[in-house]
Structure formats: C-alpha cells, structure tokens
C-alpha cells in the first residue's frame, strides 16, 4: 500500500487539543483573564455557571483558570520525564544492542531489575531518598520509563544489525562506523519520536499521580493532581471539583495517544 494514511478528524482534533494544552502551559493568561489563585470565600464551591464555566473550589477560586494554569506543571514534568527516559533508554539500548555481548548482558539484566520495581513505587522510593521538587520528580518518573525505551532501541539495533541491508553494505568495503552511522542508527532510532509521544501521556499521568499523593508541588499551586486530591474532601457537595481537572488530564493523555498511534501507523506503513 503506497497511499498515504488518511488524516482522520480524530487525529486533527487530538493535535489541536495538544496544541491548546501546550499554549495553556506556555501562555495561560492568553486563555483566561482570571487569576487562578484569587480566592473569593463568598463564592465557595459554586457549581458551573455562566460566570464560572466549570464552577469554583472550596476557596472560591475559579476552577477553569486553575485547570488552564495547571497544564504547565503536568506538561513540564511529563515532558521532562520522557526526555530523561528517551535519553537514558537510547544510550543504554544502543550500548546493549551494538556493544559486545557482556555489555548487552549487563545492561539487559540491569533493566530486568529496574522492571521488577513497580513504577509508582520506584518513584516513591526515589522521592523518599531525594526529597520532593520538580527536578527530582522528573528523574523519579523518567527512571520508570527507561526500560521500555532501552528495550525497544536494543531490539531495533539488533534487527538492523542482522538485516540484509547491513550485510549487503559490508560487501562494499565500507568502514564499520560508516555502516553503523548510515544504516544501523537511523533505522534503529526511527521509531523513537513515536514512542516518546506515546510515552508522554503516561508520564503526565505519573506526574499528576505523584502530586495527587502529595509528593509534587504544594498548595496553593494550581496542579491537576493536587486539585483532584483536594476534591476528595468535598466530592459530596462539589462533584465538579473532582471531575473537570480529570477531564483535562484525560483529554491530554488521549490526545497524545491518538497522535502517537497515528504516527506509529504511518511509520509502519513504510515497510
């Protein structure tokens, strides 16, 4: 099939939503004029209305403004964690896939061990040792994502190394490094942007999850996980505080998944 993949409306919508989230993270005041920290006790726990589109929280802060400003933390920590995972995973995967057998064994076993700690717990332990804070959170979440990237890169390198085109290239008297640079690396790293997009959703969930547990930014910062954590106490009287931050979070994650899947399908069409 040589036809380009149809760009479906769902992919366009997802890209737009992702763009919106990025805009909210970079320049939130463009999307709302309300200060997310402005508390008005007279308007405590107001349901959605024309004035407050998705209602207010206990302190009478506008929920929509808080959701818009909350994008920043989730996206920064999520992106940071993915970058950490991709960088570390790629280096480890390349070393394991292209290096000598003992190095492969060493790295592969280390990754097995890393996998054995459930990722939330890994992050918890990491935070327990290093203390909270954005850089530590990024490292803690990034650590859990390393195995999947490292394994994919390793297997891609091995597929490329044993491929017909590498065997063929070695019959032209090309130096080894040229073969690795020209054939192995580009083919092995091709799927990485896709995996990173798919991983972004997970990292954002991880980051809001840590905030939810109280290990991320502290009140009164506007952060989705933190807002959800707060909402538990007033769910009976103010359901909207527990629903809308989650809708925002889920929308961003779904969008990343839809775009990532589309990129993946487009990439797989090449073969």
């Amino acid at each position: 099939m040589s036809r380009p993949l149809r760009l479906r409306w769902s992919v366009i919508l997802a890209s737009l939503l992702l763009g919106l989230a990025v805009l909210a993270a970079v320049w939130p005041s463009l999307l709302t004029a309300i200060d997310p920290l402005y508390a008005n006790p007279l308007e405590s726990n107001q349901p959605p209305s024309a004035q407050h589109l998705v209602g207010t929280d206990l302190q009478g802060r506008d929920l929509l403004a808080r959701i818009i400003y909350g994008a920043r933390h989730s996206l920064i920590i999520g992106l940071g964690a993915v970058v950490v995972s991709v960088l570390a995973g790629t280096v480890l995967g390349l070393l394991a896939g292209a290096g000598p057998n003992w190095l492969d064994q060493l790295i592969s076993r280390a990754i097995d061990i890393l996998c054995a700690f459930p990722s939330i717990l890994l992050a918890l332990v990491f935070i327990a040792f290093t203390g909270p804070g954005v850089p530590n959170l990024i490292l803690a979440l990034g650590l859990g994502g390393i195995p999947s990237f490292a394994r994919v890169v390793r297997s891609q390198v091995q597929v490329a190394r044993t491929s017909g085109y590498v065997e063929q290239a070695s019959t032209y008297a090309l130096p080894r490094w040229r073969i690795i640079l020209r054939h192995v690396l580009p083919n092995a790293l091709g799927p990485l942007p896709i995996l990173a997009t798919l991983g972004l959703g997970g990292a954002i969930i991880g980051s809001s999850g840590m905030s939810f547990l109280g290990l991320g930014p502290q009140p009164p910062t506007a952060e989705w996980g933190l807002m959800l954590s707060d909402s538990r106490n007033y769910l009976r009287v103010a359901w909207w505080t527990g629903v809308f931050p989650g809708v925002a979070l889920t929308t961003v994650v779904i969008s990343a998944t839809v775009v990532g899947r589309w990129l993946q399908r487009r990439y797989e069409r090449r073969f």
């Binding site: 017909g164 065997e167 063929q168 019959t171 580009p186 090449r270």
Partner: protein, 565 residues
C-alpha cells in the same frame, strides 16, 4: 456420471477499499476420479477459485456464476450449515505450507481428529485408531508416536503428509490441493507427488493448484492455464504441455529452465551487451594484462582463479550449548574468470553458509578463501578493501537487502559513492539501470514499492556498480514467478557473457542450475558430494545422493522443446 464440481462463468471480486476482480468468468468441472489442475502465476486467481469451491473466499468477496454446483448441490444457494457439511466431508482441502496450515499449539492427533469429530466419521472411541490409520495411509511410520507430536517437531515431508491425512480424513470425493509441494526439497517433493498420485489412482478426484507445470504434469490429467483471472487455455495435460496453443502458455513453457533450454533465452528482450561491457566489465580493454587474472611465469601464462576455496570448514554452535554442527565441511572449489559455477543442495546442506564464507562475511574455522590469489584473512586493510570490491552479492530477499530509508538511486550509488565524483556516480547509476532494463523513473522510488523482478534487477545493478570479478548469488530467483525468473536468469546470463564477471550461483532448483551454469558442485550435509562439468554431473551422476536428486526432478513431457521457438 455427474460432475463433482461444475462451474460456468465464475467471477470473484473483492470489495474492499479498492475493488479487485480476482476471477473473471472461469468455467471448470471436475468429474469423479478426475484430476484437474489450475496453473498460473501469482495473482492469476487460481487460489481464489479453489477457495470459492468450499465457500471460503472471505467476508468482502462477491461470488457470481451462471452455474455453480458442488457435489451435486447448487453452491450459490447453500446455507452456512450446508457449506460446513461439504467442507472436510465431500471436499477435502489441503492448504500450502503445512507449517502454517497446521495449528502450532495442537498435536497432529488433535488436528486430524477435528475432521473426524466435525463430521462424525467414526464413533468417538475409534477416533484415535482412525487417526493412526490415516497417518499410516499417507506413509507416516510409527503413527502412534507421530500423532502426539506438533507440526514444528516434524520434518517438512512428514508435516505435509499429516496435513494431507487431515484433508483425507472425511473420506472426501474431491481433494483440493493448493501448491502441495512448494517449499519442499526436491526429493521430498517427489515423495509427496507419489503419495498424491497413489490416492488419485484409488479414485479420489483432485483439483491441483500450482504454479509449477512440471508438478502439474505429474498429477493432473486435465489442465487449465490461468492468467489474470481468466482461463487462457485448457485441455488434457499431455496435449496442453506438448502442443500449447495460446501464446501465454507457450511463453510459460519456454520460460522453464532445464537441460533442454540451455543456451537459449527463456524470455523476450535483450541486454545492451556493449553498454554492459563498458559499464561493468571487471577488466577494461586497456588493462587486459590485469594481474588479477593471469600470472606470467617463465613457463608461460597461467589463468588464476578469481575465487578459490581450499579446505573450507565452518562450525556452528548448536542452541543451548549442545556442541556444534558442521555446516560446511572441507570444501574445495575454484572459479575462473567469466565462469558460472552452480552450488546445489537441499535445505540445510550448508550452501548459504558457504556463500557467506566465500563472500568473506564470516571467517571459516579451517581452510581459506582466496580472491584473485589473495586470502580474506589478509591483515593488510587496503588489500582487504580491494578484495571486498571484487566480490559482490545478490541475495534471495533483495527487498530486505535495501535500506528502507533509501531510494533506488541511493541504493545503487552506495557502493561507488566516494570513489567517483557525484556527477559521475549519477551518470553511472542511470546507465546501469538502462543495462538491466529498468526505466529511469524508478530511481526516485522507495525499494519497498518494487515488484520482485524489479527488486532483483536493482540488486543486480548494485552488484555490478563496483565492476566486480565475481558475483555470488544466493537463490536469486527462487521467490519469483517463472516468467520473471526467466527474465532475471537471461539477464544474469547475458551480463556474464558481456562483462566476463564470474558467477557463483547457489540454488536448490536443479532445473535453473542445469540451464545456467558451466560447473556445478553438489552439497549434502556440508560436504561436497560431487563436482564437475554440469553436463557430466547431471547426465552421469556418480554419487548416490546426486543420483537421487536428479531422479527426483519432475519432468515435463518431452519432445516439446523442438516445436517451440
């Protein structure tokens, strides 16, 4: 007698995103005890026709016919339940490639008894016994033991027999066999053909689907030649194969490489020999005294082999550290300039390993390979690079040998990049493409869009780009349809004579080897069992293994060659 299958004007279309008309008005009838063959190349619609007979063309298909009777019933109005009674009951179906056609998670016993249960052929208690009887009937020794095994534990021949047994389990009147011997070694193929023949003689009617005219001639008494969804010619097998009336049938027959086709072209079209010689000959006219080929000594001029193996042995470790297996054992060979050497053997004979040792991709454990007198084991990097460029490689899976990110132009240019300036490279690529008969527009195309024949031509272009003295071809035509195979073989043959590039040609297909090469070595279990001139080896094989191989080649009815030109 009423026909088992009687079809008039059958059409099968697939209505997916693109409409595909797979069969366009075919008529077919099979009478009891008759063996009818549908022959054609890939995409001719023969397999779809076979599947329409059991009502399994798939959910997106539309089947129409003026008349479509199967086992005395009107198939166009059969309910799903009635179809199921036919499938496995009146009609047995044997798919190609038993490794994938048998469920890998189920034993032979479970697979065969599925038919017995579905059609209640025998009472429940007797199922085990019947499975063993069926296996014995298709020539499986020790059926009690084999019945408990899985498909992947059986050798190709046994696997195919088990699949045939499951097709016969419902005591069908008609057995449909789709490519029954494809992917089997020639000796196993002969056994399976004998088995099917024996069942035919016992009265089971057959519909044989095959791309191989020689296989068909062994089995069928009536043949229908299909091309692009249509029957182009039909008639009694002997008649069609010896006096083909339709040009397509004639082309198909004349494209088959064999002893008789030696020395003539298999296909139409011709290579520009002058351009080929100019572009790709390893020795240019101004360097005839190239020391790679001749050594001048006091007692005269001796011709030097371009490729020479002496005592080459290669071991492979067995999985799980259970010792090692000898893949190539003590092989000696010499290939002289311009010569064509065939290396034949069945699967597992070590011929592909030998190819990689000759190429210098893997080092032999014992012995050495010399290219124009210099060993691969040389420590001189510059010399080694010189050798590298003299030996080029064409593999069976040429699509896999192209970097998927490259265009055709980049693929062909890669070996010569950096040796010539960019304009010269482009020019050379373009002219090479002309020599192998590909249009220039493929240059900007990605290799995955090429057809099998085009891909093989691009691979040939790339191999020629460095002006090698030897090209090693590992099964270069075995994945191709016979007419495309013919074109590629003609191309290789003519390039060899135009440029003087020697060929080492590895193949399991004895007909191809017999057609093409001058010298042949026969391999079995890593050993060379026989070698010599191709005529001598094929006409008077001395080693019993060679004799059995040559005996097993299915023969077309003779005396056809003289009549076709």
């Amino acid at each position: 007698m009423t026909a088992l299958v009687s079809i008039d004007n059958l059409s099968v279309s697939f209505t997916g995103r693109h409409r595909v008309d797979a069969v366009k008005g075919l008529s077919l009838s099979v009478r009891p005890g008759q063996a009818v063959a549908l022959v054609g190349e890939s995409g001719s619609g023969k397999s779809v026709t076979a599947r329409s007979i059991v009502g399994l063309t798939g959910p997106d298909s539309v089947v129409t016919a003026d008349r479509f009777e199967v086992a005395g019933r009107d198939a166009l109005s059969l309910s799903e339940r009635q179809w199921r009674q036919l499938r496995g009951g009146a009609i047995g179906f044997v798919l190609q490639d038993a490794l994938t056609a048998l469920d890998p998670l189920r034993t032979v016993q479970q697979e065969i008894s599925e038919v017995l249960r579905a059609h209640k052929v025998v009472p429940r208690r007797q199922i085990d016994q019947r499975v063993q009887d069926l296996l014995r009937d298709v020539g499986v020794d020790d059926p009690e033991f084999r019945a408990k095994q899985y498909a992947h534990q059986l050798s190709g021949g046994l696997r195919q027999r088990a699949l045939i047994a499951s097709g016969l389990a419902g005591q069908p009147d008609l057995l449909v066999v789709d490519e029954p011997t494809t992917a089997l070694d020639v000796t196993i193929q002969a056994q399976i053909l004998a088995l099917l023949r024996a069942h035919r003689e016992r009265g089971t009617a057959m519909l044989v689907i095959s791309h191989d005219l020689a296989v068909v001639s062994q089995l069928a008494d009536y043949v229908i030649v299909m091309n692009d969804g249509l029957a182009v010619e039909e008639g009694p097998t002997e008649e069609v194969l010896t006096h083909p009336a339709h040009p397509y049938t004639r082309d198909l027959l004349s494209a088959i490489p064999s002893q008789a086709s030696r020395g003539r072209r298999l296909s139409q079209g011709r290579v520009d020999l002058v351009a080929a010689a100019e572009l790709a000959a390893p020795v240019r006219t101004d360097q005839v005294d190239d020391p790679r080929f001749y050594s001048v000594a006091a007692d005269g001029v001796t011709v030097q082999p371009v490729l020479q193996a002496s005592g080459v042995t290669k071991f492979f470790p067995l999985p799980g550290g259970r010792g090692r297996r000898r893949a190539v054992a003590d092989v000696d060979l010499s290939l002289f300039p311009g010569q064509k050497l065939g290396i034949v053997g069945e699967s597992g004979s070590g011929k592909s390993t030998l190819a990689r040792v000759l190429l210098g991709l893997i080092a032999p454990d014992q012995g050495e390979v010399r290219v124009a007198g210099e060993s691969w084991a040389t420590s001189d990097r510059a010399a080694w690079r010189r050798l590298r460029r003299q030996v080029q490689f064409i593999s069976q899976d040429s699509i896999g040998s192209f970097d998927p990110r490259y265009t055709v132009a980049e693929i062909i240019a890669e070996p010569i990049l950096g040796q010539l300036d960019p304009d010269q490279v482009q020019d050379r690529v373009r002219r090479l493409l002309g020599v192998v008969g590909l249009p220039e527009r493929v240059l900007s195309v990605s290799p995955r869009l090429l057809s099998g024949g085009q891909a093989q031509r691009v691979a040939i272009c790339r191999a020629l780009a460095l002006r090698p003295t030897v090209i090693i071809c590992d099964e270069p035509v075995s994945a191709l349809d016979v007419s495309i195979q013919a074109q590629v073989l003609d191309l290789l043959n003519e390039l060899n004579s135009a440029t003087g590039t020697a060929l080492a040609f590895i193949s399991h297909d004895l007909g191809v080897v017999r057609h093409l090469v001058d010298q042949v070595i026969v391999m079995n279990n890593g050993f060379v069992v026989e070698q010599g001139d191709v005529e001598a080896v094929f006409d008077q094989p001395r080693h019993p293994y060679t004799q059995s191989l040559i005996q097993a080649i299915p023969q077309l009815p003779t005396h056809r060659q003289g009549e076709i030109t």
